[in-house]
Symmetry: C2
Subunit: 360 residues, 2 copies
Amino acid sequence: MQNGLEPASVTIRDVARAAGVSITTVSHVLSGHRPTGELTRHRVLAVVEQLNYRPNRVAQSLATRHTRTVGLILPDILNPFFPQLVHAIERSAIHAGYRLLLCHTDSLESLERECLEDLVARRVEGVIYMRGTAAPNPVLERLAEEHFPLVVLDEEVPGLVAPGVYAMNRLGGRMAARHLWQLGHRDVGVIGGPRGLVSVCDRVQGFQETYRRLGAPVPEERTVFTGFSVHGGQEAGRGLLLRHPELTAVFAANDLIAFGVIQAARELGRSVPGSLSVLGFDDVTTAAMVDPPLTTVRQPIRRMGSEAFRLLMGQVRGTWEPVRRQLPTRLVERGSTAPPERVRAVSAAGGATPPRSPGA
Amino acid sequence: MQNGLEPASVTIRDVARAAGVSITTVSHVLSGHRPTGELTRHRVLAVVEQLNYRPNRVAQSLATRHTRTVGLILPDILNPFFPQLVHAIERSAIHAGYRLLLCHTDSLESLERECLEDLVARRVEGVIYMRGTAAPNPVLERLAEEHFPLVVLDEEVPGLVAPGVYAMNRLGGRMAARHLWQLGHRDVGVIGGPRGLVSVCDRVQGFQETYRRLGAPVPEERTVFTGFSVHGGQEAGRGLLLRHPELTAVFAANDLIAFGVIQAARELGRSVPGSLSVLGFDDVTTAAMVDPPLTTVRQPIRRMGSEAFRLLMGQVRGTWEPVRRQLPTRLVERGSTAPPERVRAVSAAGGATPPRSPGA
DNA sequence: TTGAAAGCGCTACCAA
DNA sequence: TTGGTAGCGCTTTCAA
């Protein structure tokens, strides 16, 4: 207790000695891997209790070659989307007897690589990889090639052959578009997240493709990109609204951005949804709590998390197979979207009002 | 690659053989723990590179008796307060070469105990313990007695002699009270978090003690307790406002509860802050983004996290000492608090208006 | 039903 | 400047 170097806890050897049996025996009464005499069993257990012995999991891991640990690489714990995802994963993990080793990368590619290396060196049995950058990651590629247990979650890695779980982002983008269209919005803007992220492309493209088909393609200069953050959304929103005051609605690639857009709109004296509709993506818990509750495209976060863990376990104790699971999104209508002012005005003036009917 | 049992990665032995040197040498060129010949150094490094050798951290840990891992016990990752705390801790940890092993307890005492045991068995070098329940925890007590490196964070454990980092909760409660008082609120309610939590007692008592001193003690039936959640706040808020429609302000023991109270107020047709002022605690990131931006007592989350890790490291490589660090809170005024209607009405009617002047 | 002993992959002491 | 080797604390054959 005095020296700082040696916690010197009680070992299996101590137990064996105190119980007057062999180490082997202690090991087996504890693991139940082979029958033991009733008598010795009780003697050993008593000693274990008395000495408060707990097997050293490090030594166990070295001997058995498994650590009952899974590595988690995540880009941004401050985005509430990820804690929700982590929560789901952790529930599955605990249930399966696994623990999570956390690696926060701040969306930095260099950190992603380092973390991955470190996790492997620590002999985690698998990794759930959530990226925050579009940069290629050689370490990740190597692991995938070696069929190291790995599942990519949320953000797809282009070109990587590995199991993954994603939301139907393109579909989500389409849902967003259809919703705004039906409300009567014709002048819409889009604020995507970090350029190059597959999820961003999909959401944005799904949105644009729908508007194009409906006959009102979104002009290129009405689509901008920014970071997945409130601040990013605020900046980008301000710029977009300043350059295009004619916009009546904005689709944001995630909720954080949407929050920022709402703030920007207010600064510019535009009420939401009165003068501007805002639509988000994720359906983070707080989405229901912000000023006008946010209309958003919900990702099935819980299912994504548990499915990811399930896939990982499949690999850990079984065959590797690059399954690609896509989970459906759905639109959650709340208070941040409404028909554009013009349409409402017309409606109020009376009469049926198919918004900008094709022939008009 | 076929068999599921043996990842059989390359070991130090392989490197030694391939480089034509001893295992010892390989170990030392990698650790730098002793000088090595320029030539052999390069040879070894080349082989390491070529074989893509990475030392097995499990084996290292067993040999060196350190894991470069810290355990984190946290009650509720869905409360944004904790991700923010985790973020701060993780920054310090990564900087010091440590990794975080995550244990989510869902505020369950049984899980807290299990996690603690498991973390110790996994030989983490220390534990940062954030509790979510008021239940006593024998395992924790044992660890503290044994001077196992441990720091209690955020939520104090009564009677436990161990290092800890906390916000000045009582002070925070006082700040909240003074603010509402100065705005002119005389009929106030309090919604605490889980009964028995020290932080809750401190915040509530700080608040009440101030109102008492100012001559308007808060009647007991205007103080209620609930879970640290939006839902809890909503339920409790609804009940309180229904029973006491005369209240003009509510102090909530954390931001989540405050959010819930705001929702409850709306349901009851009361605007915030027009007809009801709401004050929170924590200053979670989203506090600035909700409907009326939340006036709240800010905890110095980042500093709490980094200080906790610093204290832990102090114990890991040094002397145990039950330091108790308390960090100051401060009031952040935003939009959810305002003078009560009566006062505003009177003010508008003209004339100086010491709210409910003692002689009135 | 029990034990001896050979690892698991490293570190670090002791020699050379 | 280098190597042999005894652990670290456990699991698991193989024998008894």
